[in-house]
C-alpha cells in the first residue's frame, strides 16, 4: 500500500493525526519529516510517547527522508508522512522524483504576517507561493483538517477568507 497521506500540519503529531486520521486509515506508521526534530532525541521521545503502541514513528531530516521514502512507500502497512511546514513538504516533493501525487494541508495556524484562509489555515505570501510551487510539480494540493471535512482545492483556498 502506498503512503495513505502526505500532510502539512504545524502541530505535527497530535489528536487529529493520531485519532482523526490514524484510526480510519488504520495507520501503522508515521514518517515525521523535520530537520529540527530529527536532530533532537528529546523531541523525538516527546512525539513517540504521543502515539498508540500499534503505531511506529520514523524521524527524518528532509535529506534522509528522500533516501528512505522508496522503502517506506513500498511498505505494505498504511502510513502517513508528516511535515510541519510548507517549505519542508516542498523540498520533499521536489527531491522525491514525482512519487507524491497529493498533499494534504491539515493545519497552519495563526501567526503575525499570515492571512486567514480557513479556520485552520493561515498563510503568508511566501507560503502561498510554496503551495503553488508544489502544485506546479504535478501534485494535487487540498486543505482538509479531518477525514469527514470537504477537501478544499488550492484555488479556492487561496481566494477564500475566514469571513466568506
Amino acid at each position: 500500500m502506498p503512503i495513505a497521506l502526505y500532510r502539512i500540519d504545524d502541530r505535527l503529531i497530535h489528536g487529529q493525526v493520531v485519532v482523526g486520521w490514524g484510526q480510519p486509515l488504520e495507520l501503522r506508521f508515521i514518517v515525521l519529516v523535520d530537520d529540527e526534530v530529527a536532530a533532537s532525541e528529546w523531541e523525538q521521545e516527546l512525539y513517540r510517547m504521543g502515539v498508540p503502541p500499534e503505531m511506529t514513528v520514523h524521524f527524518f531530516s528532509v535529506e534522509d527522508a528522500v533516501v528512505a521514502l522508496p522503502e517506506l512507500q513500498a511498505d505494505a502497512r498504511p502510513g502517513l508522512v508528516l511535515a510541519g511546514d510548507i517549505d519542508t513538504m516542498m523540498r520533499l516533493v521536489e527531491q522525491s522524483g514525482h512519487t507524491i501525487a497529493a498533499v494534504n494541508l491539515g493545519g497552519i495556524h495563526h501567526s503575525p504576517g499570515r492571512t486567514p484562509r480557513l479556520r485552520y489555515v493561515f498563510l503568508t505570501a511566501a507560503e502561498e507561493s510554496g503551495l503553488r510551487a508544489i502544485e506546479r510539480l504535478g501534485v494535487e494540493v487540498t486543505a482538509q483538517d479531518v477525514p469527514n471535512a470537504r477537501p478544499v482545492p488550492l484555488d479556492e483556498l487561496l481566494t477564500s477568507t475566514l469571513d466568506s
Binding site: 502541530r11 501567526s111 479556520r119 485552520y120
Partner: protein, 135 residues
C-alpha cells in the same frame, strides 16, 4: 450570566485545564454545576492556536495564577505536547492527561490538600470510575 460568574467568592485557581474545542470550559461548567467549585479551574482551548501559542498561553496562565497542576484531555493532543515542553523548565508542575469528570470532581473536593498530591489521588479515582453496564 454563568454559574461561575454568579459566585460571590472567587477561589484561587488551583489547576489549569487545556483541551480541544470547548471541552475544558464544558467540563468546568459541569464541575461547577455539581460542586460550585468551578472557579478553582482556568479553562484553555487549543482551537486556532499553533503549538508555540498554546505553550505561551499555558505559561502565562501558570504565572498569573500560580497553579501547579495542568489537566489535558488527550495523551497525543497538542495541549499535552505543549505542556510536556513546558514541564522541562517547571519541575514543580504536574500534568495529568486523559481526564474525566470523576477525576475533576475528586480534585475539586480536595481543596485543603496540596494540589499536586490531590491531582494524583484524583487520577486514581478517575481511572477507577469507568465501568461498563448492560451488554
Amino acid at each position: 450570566m454563568t454559574d461561575e460568574a454568579e459566585r460571590s467568592v472567587e477561589a484561587p485557581v488551583r489547576a489549569v485545564i487545556a483541551a480541544h474545542g470547548t471541552f475544558a470550559a464544558g467540563i468546568v461548567s459541569a464541575v461547577d454545576q455539581i460542586t460550585g467549585r468551578g472557579t478553582m479551574f482556568r479553562a484553555i482551548s487549543n482551537s486556532g492556536l499553533c503549538l508555540d501559542d498554546i505553550q505561551e498561553t499555558l505559561a502565562r496562565t501558570l504565572d498569573e495564577t500560580g497553579a501547579r497542576v495542568i489537566f489535558t484531555d488527550l495523551p497525543a493532543g497538542s495541549c499535552t505536547m505543549a505542556v510536556r515542553r513546558l514541564l522541562r523548565g517547571r519541575p514543580d508542575v504536574a500534568l495529568i492527561t486523559g481526564i474525566n469528570l470523576t477525576l475533576l470532581l475528586d480534585f475539586a473536593m480536595q481543596d485543603d490538600a496540596d494540589p499536586v498530591a490531590a491531582a494524583h489521588t484524583a487520577l486514581e479515582r478517575g481511572r477507577a470510575s469507568m465501568v461498563a453496564h448492560g451488554a
